[in-house]
Symmetry: D2
Subunit: 336 residues, 4 copies
């Protein structure tokens, strides 16, 4: 069984996330340890289309475990979404003799991988694909955790801690926008970690009066003179919310959009450790002859899930944590 795999490709695709390099390193080193050759595909799926690749030996990935970004570069590929694009990609796979591909990225990346594998199969070419979830949004249905989330949370928390210093000195209100176009995981986690006055997430309809105005009022009544409002990108614009706070409460909020800072930085211990284990597991899944799969964390463990099924999974949002957040603010939940 093991000898079915001789050479694999590894790529990073979609938005980058801290820890991608640790995952690449783990894939390359595990492959090497199993006697499998490894080719780095650059710039996501585009690299397969344009034959943009590099051979990766064990030392090619030395000293990258602590680096943010991805040494393989990343990109989104329109062309790969077409059958014609994937045909070009398959030509490269054939030319290089790839038996499998480890794709590090998000749901879009995995769907692309699956489409490629199917197109290959239809052409009589056995190409197995394994996905490793990496996105700071932590919004991948099948996996409790995605690489990069922890680092992004720590970065956001460190920035907001700094903001709080100056908000406290000036007795001001701060409105800070964190990433999360469709998901509030980051905003809620960060909000809990900084002890935010209020958190706005796309998963929950905002009642401005209840969720912002009243909370700031209660905090003021409890004795505080500065307030921290955390907004997920997808729940509204920090600028708009700041403006409305000004209109309704007369405060003069300072607005900060953390932006791409959250995507960079040396990965945290957790992201490096998780990425290392996921990268190892990905190669092991290929070695063990498993079909297309996604490496995921479930119930605190790293598992491999059938890719097709995994892509159907929906992640439930931990809304009870929103209640915890409310209970822990000075406004308190029971007093509303």
């Amino acid at each position: 069984m093991e000898n079915q795999i001789h050479r694999i490709g590894v790529l990073t695709s979609g938005g980058d996330a801290p820890g991608m390099n640790a995952a690449v390193r783990a894939v390359v080193r595990t492959a090497q340890d199993c006697g499998i050759e490894c080719v780095g595909i650059r710039r996501g799926w585009n690299g397969l289309i344009t034959s943009d690749f590099v051979q990766l030996g064990a030392t090619s990935v030395s000293h990258i475990i602590d680096k943010g970004g991805t040494i393989l570069y990343t990109a989104r590929s329109e062309e790969f979404m077409t059958e014609a694009g994937r045909d070009k990609a398959l030509s490269t796979c054939r030319l290089l003799g790839l038996d499998g591909i480890v794709a590090i990225g998000g749901d879009g990346t995995f769907r692309g991988a699956l489409a490629l594998s199917r197109q290959a199969a239809a052409a009589g070419y056995g190409l197995r694909v394994v996905g490793i979830p990496a996105t700071i949004d932590n919004d991948i249905g099948c996996s409790h955790y995605t690489i990069g989330f922890d680092t992004a949370c720590n970065t956001a928390v460190e920035c907001i801690d700094k903001l709080r210093d100056t908000m406290q000195s000036h007795e001001r209100c701060s409105v800070v926008e964190v990433m999360g176009r469709h998901a509030g995981h980051l905003a809620l986690y960060v909000g809990l970690a900084v002890g935010a006055t209020a958190v706005l997430i796309p998963e929950r309809q905002v009642d401005f009066d209840q969720d912002i105005v009243e909370k700031i009022r209660q905090a003021r009544l409890a004795g505080t003179t500065h307030y921290m409002v955390v907004v997920a990108e997808g729940a509204g614009s920090a600028a708009d919310i700041g403006k409305r706070i000004h209109e309704e409460l007369g405060l003069d909020p300072r607005v900060t959009v953390l932006g791409h800072i959250q995507r960079g930085g040396s990965p945290s211990a957790r992201d490096r450790e998780t990425a290392s284990r996921m990268g190892y597991k990905a190669v092991m899944a290929l070695v063990s002859g498993q079909g297309n799969c996604i490496i995921a964390t479930q119930d605190g463990r790293i598992v491999d899930l059938d890719m097709e099924e995994a892509l159907q999974m929906k992640k439930s949002f931990p809304m009870e944590r929103y209640q915890i957040l409310e209970a822990l603010t000075l406004s308190g939940s029971h007093r509303r």
Copy 2:
């Protein structure tokens, strides 16, 4: 049911851990939110013995979520281990009218809590106790995760990243000792996260030749000229290991003992978030009329476990991660 609890005490005991303040804050704020009064007991169990306490309102715990250490101070108490000591402690509980105590610390702390509760029950006094696991060693049987572990890992990783810079410039070997007298969780996690050449843990017998000498040799053969050996306190002294490396390989290793640095620092996002949820859950367990319990993480979820049963649980060491570590070093596992 809910009104059985009117006033509770909260304390931190044993070695301190980053995130203890976040847990204290969560206990106090949740209590307040439930209409329960909260008394902070200072210096661990000693505070109950010597009546060293402070009333805690919601604003007493403002601006502590981001602070290392514990505002309640901590200590180990010999006297509390005696029945006479616990009798004194019970007098304070009675005087203050405490219905429950939330004790934040490690196994020793919880055993003390249980003994106190039993002694109270024997005297006809209903005192319920809840434990929250907090220790950087992550060595509590019933809980996958303990508050402080993540921050300690990040601190160790950041220090070792710095060490690596200078080791690389000078092409040296570094031997770094991390905390963990009885447990290698921290050492192994950190070792994976920094891409260590070798990791020594108390859970695994060290074969110096195989586990150190040979790994350094293989790394050198693969082209590296610096090496990072991570040692858990309980697996040997970094100084001794450095000396032996010198003797057997002729290298001149630099030895670093990270020491108490690992115990301090602003808690990471994960430790703040987890501590907040655990503190909330602890008060909720009291409110819901539950008996003595420990708040634990199991299968990625925060649960409350019967304290007596929880104290019997043993944590299995994730030895498969040691194999992953070996596969990911330049020495590789299959080549041995």
Copy 3:
């Protein structure tokens, strides 16, 4: 001479800066060491007008040296700019029996202090004032260095390092706006420290084609595929510059406004050390019977300058560092 001073006030005013707390601590501790009482005035000059103060003993300032912001709060005071406002402030000074005031802030703060001292003198009341320069903009004429600048530079550099990770992975252009409404010190310093492709400062007319377009082109020709443009607030809006880069070069820049993050955070070693020495020097100037003065750094030394003269001084902008920056970019200065 020494016994002329019995009691002094200390305040922070204007925009806050990391290190203000270290300066407050030094003032209080030095005063205590000289047998002088110290009163903390809260919320800048407003505190003198509204009698908002607190007595500060040596232990009141324990554990603040490492904290961002200011424990005395800060504010701008319109009322203090009027004679009537300063009259009220003087009443408080008289009531408290203040012989001197140490004012930590910027030029506006110092001008207010001087006006107050003069108004006091006119009323036959000897009130000596000492200024300590603290602003992250480093734009105070008389002092080479101002407290907070170093921390702000480090914060900006750390953020931009993170941005670079993701810009590099995605091969993008980043436009990042740093503070500095009227001064480019921060932008130029940070630009040098991150190896920016281009830096825009208010002290230098921007030739968009030469200063941005051509530099990005040269960097691309030299082989780079990501670019970092640093803009001082006062030299233009990052959003506008990003838009224009898009129009003229077809790139799709990511825009980040660092904002108030730069104002917070635990002060750097340099800011703590400098603030400590400046605070000490300020009290010593009062003790030695010196008139109104500003504590400044000149030629690498901390000196006290006559306040009136100091307020006339203009700081020359180190434009030669802009040339250095140009020489160090991939575009190079000689190749233009």
Copy 4:
């Protein structure tokens, strides 16, 4: 004049220091900007002896400004201290056609450079050398500031801040040893920045009773229950001092030796900026036809000093800062 220089070498020697890479980058980029070729000599002077070098173009030094350590590696060379060793080095210089060498390091490095230049001159070969001071000890006679000092101070301060968290929680005494075998600059700077109870430096005879015992006592009397003693390597062993504190005061101090951590890490804004300007100045000194020189900071400015004279200079120790430190502790200076 300018065209006398066609090709130069650059090397890092002695102990590494954060910012060395920024200096290397500045040398290479400035050289390129002036039309001068640049050769990187690896492993200090050894590289000249063994012909261990690499050609450096402008892009070879991309993305190193933020990296600790040195991409050129560093080492101490016994052989280079001999005339025979330097003869070999000169052969390499001749072979490569080097007109000048920029040597980044400490006093020993500069003395080696001067000896090499003289030996070259004696052989009728014009080889001009320029030194750039880089050492975390800040102990170079001719320069107020040396590259790496600021980063090392910040690293030490961050570590000690963490230590303080746990010392405060446990009400303990901490003895922490910082680098500085012959110089107390780092210890005193850091001691001021962390608000140490006591600081021991080699420049000042220690009176254990006055300088340690009495200060801890005064701090205790003033209400503190934790103490931070900072020791420069050259002023005694932290372990010994901890032991003596235990004997004389009955405390149970925790001892930490920060060690090589202080030598690594991403350089601070100040170290990057200073290194960039010094590297630029070094090449400009060569271009302008100046003789052997050292780039130094004096009176807050970067200057080039005749190397021979510069090597005679002695740095005065800022002992007045020790008095400031004493005034700012809770013990106070006047109460002794």
